[in-house]
Symmetry: C2
Subunit: 484 residues, 2 copies
């Protein structure tokens, strides 16, 4: 823990903008009945209710059940049947008894939702419960509304939903998802920051998050993959190889957006450390057995083999570090030599001449090939061929998250396939828009929309930071200067 860094982070704690949204449902409920509320858009915040009774004097308490859903179907789920491997307690529901009417029920917790079901589980026959008013106080640290961009209605819709996704995740920190985990993750932060520079420009919030990671690094400079901020700041103690390496571009992107050299210089030693820590996990220029890695994320796929992709992430990060150090006037010869060494080793270890594609321990995946491209193992021309070849391979493991999809799009662009990139963005994110998304999802496989790595879609997050990058892609690659 670096207390100076944490002090800096604390000074940058943002003020939340609060807005009030009132519904007057005047719904009259008997035992077993419910009313569904629709706040019209995705919100993050606190809610309170005013209940009155109708009929005779209540001769029993009333037992109410509240369910909150980012998607409407969450209201219909049988949550008692949930048996996924992550905590059931993420499901946004509460139970409250009312003994006296009228009753103002303040639910103390924060929820992320558009829909809310109020269900009267228990009540006597002497009276009915009247839901008079539901008041949501929404919260975000996103500073303002942003003008929508896009050439088509669909692109505009994608941009609108992306912006909402990001602003909903902007709270005390850049959260991964306001429904679950409410937490600052390094991999999410990098993408959120990129979108932020093009849109909300709340750059101090990025700076705060960088210092939270830096401040919670251990004495060897190992970064936590995520940081808890409540009740006090603490790293989660688990490190991810790819996320740690991506700290380098995350800081450098911040510098490019802000020119805040003081912060860059303060964090530069920690950026360099990430390469050294990765080196210790590599042999002959490539990552060792993934089981020795700790967890390497890459994509939300449990079958994915990750040595190749992780080596690509290393190359990507190292190249960013070299560029950054060069800009600062440092000598980068040894880093450049290391970059060449790993690049050649990766090609030798993973490239399959016969197929003209990268394989990781016998497994073909988009992830391996995308990160070889992003790591600069190939020239743009070679990369283009790889990506076109990959597209035709039905046996390749495909991206399952918008996070991996984002990297696929960047790889396409960098290999001169801008049109394909834009089409794919429209297709993939467009399908979520067609699915009625108010915000973009943590996971989206168009073939299996209900899939969940957690064992149940009930705990999937349907407003997830890493899926908001279309607002970045549109502005950075296609519409720069046009509508900003």
């Amino acid at each position: 823990m670096n207390s100076r860094f944490l002090w800096t982070a604390k000074q940058l704690k943002p003020t939340l903008t609060k807005s009030k949204h009132v519904l007057i449902p005047k719904a009259s409920l008997a035992e077993g009945e419910h009313v569904d509320l629709d706040f019209g858009d995705h919100y993050v915040g606190h809610i309170h209710f005013v209940f009155q009774k109708e009929g005779r004097h209540p001769d029993s308490p009333a037992l109410l059940h509240f369910i909150f859903g980012e998607k409407k179907w969450e209201l219909e789920e049988d949550n008692s049947a949930y048996h996924g491997w992550i905590a059931k307690s993420w499901i946004q529901e509460e139970w409250v008894h009312i003994d006296e009417f009228p009753a103002k029920i303040n639910l103390s917790r924060r929820y992320a939702f558009r829909y809310c079901r109020v269900e009267l589980l228990g009540c006597s026959q002497a009276y009915r419960v009247l839901l008079q008013e539901a008041t949501l106080i929404s919260e975000t640290s996103a500073p303002e509304k942003i003008a929508i961009v896009g050439e088509t209605d669909q692109e505009k819709a994608i941009d609108r939903v992306s912006l909402r996704t990001l602003s909903e995740c902007m709270q005390d920190v850049f959260e991964d998802g306001p429904k679950r985990d409410h937490r600052l993750w390094l991999g999410d932060l990098r993408l959120q920051a990129l979108v932020n520079y093009q849109t909300y420009r709340h750059n101090d919030l990025v700076k705060r998050c960088l210092y939270l990671f830096a401040g919670t690094a251990d004495k060897n400079g190992v970064l936590s993959a995520s940081v808890f901020t409540k009740p006090k700041v603490v790293g989660d103690g688990a490190s991810m190889s790819d996320y740690s390496l991506l700290f380098i571009p995350t800081v450098y992107d911040y510098f490019k957006a802000t020119k805040d050299k003081e912060t860059l210089l303060e964090l530069l030693p920690l950026m360099r450390t990430q390469i050294k820590l990765a080196d210790a996990q590599m042999k002959d220029g490539v990552f060792l057995d993934p089981n020795r890695l700790g967890w390497c994320f890459i994509d939300w796929s449990l079958e994915l083999k990750k040595r190749c992709a992780c080596t690509g992430v290393y190359l990507y990060a190292l190249r960013e570090l070299i560029e950054c150090e060069r800009e600062l006037g440092y000598d980068v010869k040894s880093e450049e030599a290391r970059y060449q060494e790993v690049k050649e080793a990766a090609k030798k270890e993973f490239y399959d001449e016969k197929n003209g594609l990268f394989f990781c321990d016998g497994q073909l995946s988009f992830a391996s090939n995308i990160w070889m491209v992003l790591g600069g193992v190939l020239s743009p021309c070679e990369g283009k061929e790889i990506l076109l070849r990959l597209e035709r391979r039905d046996d390749a493991i495909r991206p399952v998250t918008p996070y991996m999809m984002h990297h696929y799009l960047i790889a396409l662009y960098e290999c001169g396939l801008a049109g394909k990139m834009r089409n794919l963005m429209n297709e993939y994110w467009g399908k979520m828009v067609q699915d009625g998304a108010d915000t973009f999802y943590e996971l989206f496989d168009p073939e299996h929309p209900d899939a969940s790595p957690y064992g149940s879609r009930s705990v999937n997050s349907y407003c997830h930071a890493w899926s908001c990058t279309p607002s970045y892609l549109l502005r950075k690659y296609f519409l720069h200067g046009e509508q900003l």
Copy 2:
């Protein structure tokens, strides 16, 4: 509503004595695990908990379920399966999410319980939840401890449990049951007051309750069978023929215990009114079809025919009124004539010469015969024969509540069967003691201990005012002056 009466009741609002009971369970729970707490006796009050976490930083909320039981088996019930006809919301349970540790959880509602289960329904695998401390603040308006009486260990146990039952029901008013309904009922009050005069002597609490009934009578003097006091005082609007009549002895008992003539004179008109209101429901000296009565309680039995018993209650109440008026110096000739008229009519209508027992519309029950005895329809000698004959009839509907059982005991005593009365008291209440009762039950049928008129024992009350009369019976009839 009589606001002057209600003002008097308000002035008499008691102070609750609070006591603190702390358990330090230090129970460590993983998802799906629970800990059962035992506070060692029945208590009424509020509870708070201190939770800590063990293991890594919580990466999910914890979802806790609390169940409170007067009986230990209440902790094991599958409450989701409850489908009785009174509100499920009476089941004493709560659900609470904890987002940050350590957490002090103050449950805001009042519970009646000895046992408490704390169940961890949802939690991640990163940590365990440690229940460090559970603090119960118990409440009663019973002023002091009372010395136990009884000739045998069993009688002493019965007295102890009776006293506890009463003190647990002594709150802002004399409640029927602190688990359910938390409410002042006229029939319960009469018996509670009798026990109170022999034990706690909190006579102002009786006075308060009398004024609450008097203050909520309607403009015709119709009393509510029960009174709600929260959020403000209001009669429940439903009247019961037998309970209304029993207002007369309840006030007169109060006068005999306190010599508070001012209160008696203030309430006397309302006592007289109860007879007049009953008269209007009678024809030729007996009650009409029970369907025209509104509800007449007598006992918690849905099959019981009640015209006969209710006529007995009328005679009992009228005799009390006559005695009271005579003591005050009023002329009681017309009341005495009415008493004789009804007494003869009752005998004519309900007495079956062939069986030598009272039948109500063809139905034989203890209730009918007991109230004919208590109403004075028979001489003590005749009553004795009736009760002995009744005892041998397996086809007679038996008492199902301690409330009806109390009246049976009084009838036995008045007919010179004091030994039988004491044996039966020892047998009936003794069986509850053997069942582990800390307080006596709302319903107790030794043959069917799990029976419930509500469709499930889960909503039965196991600390119920009307079952506390052994402490009165022992002191009034057997041990007067001995150990008081």
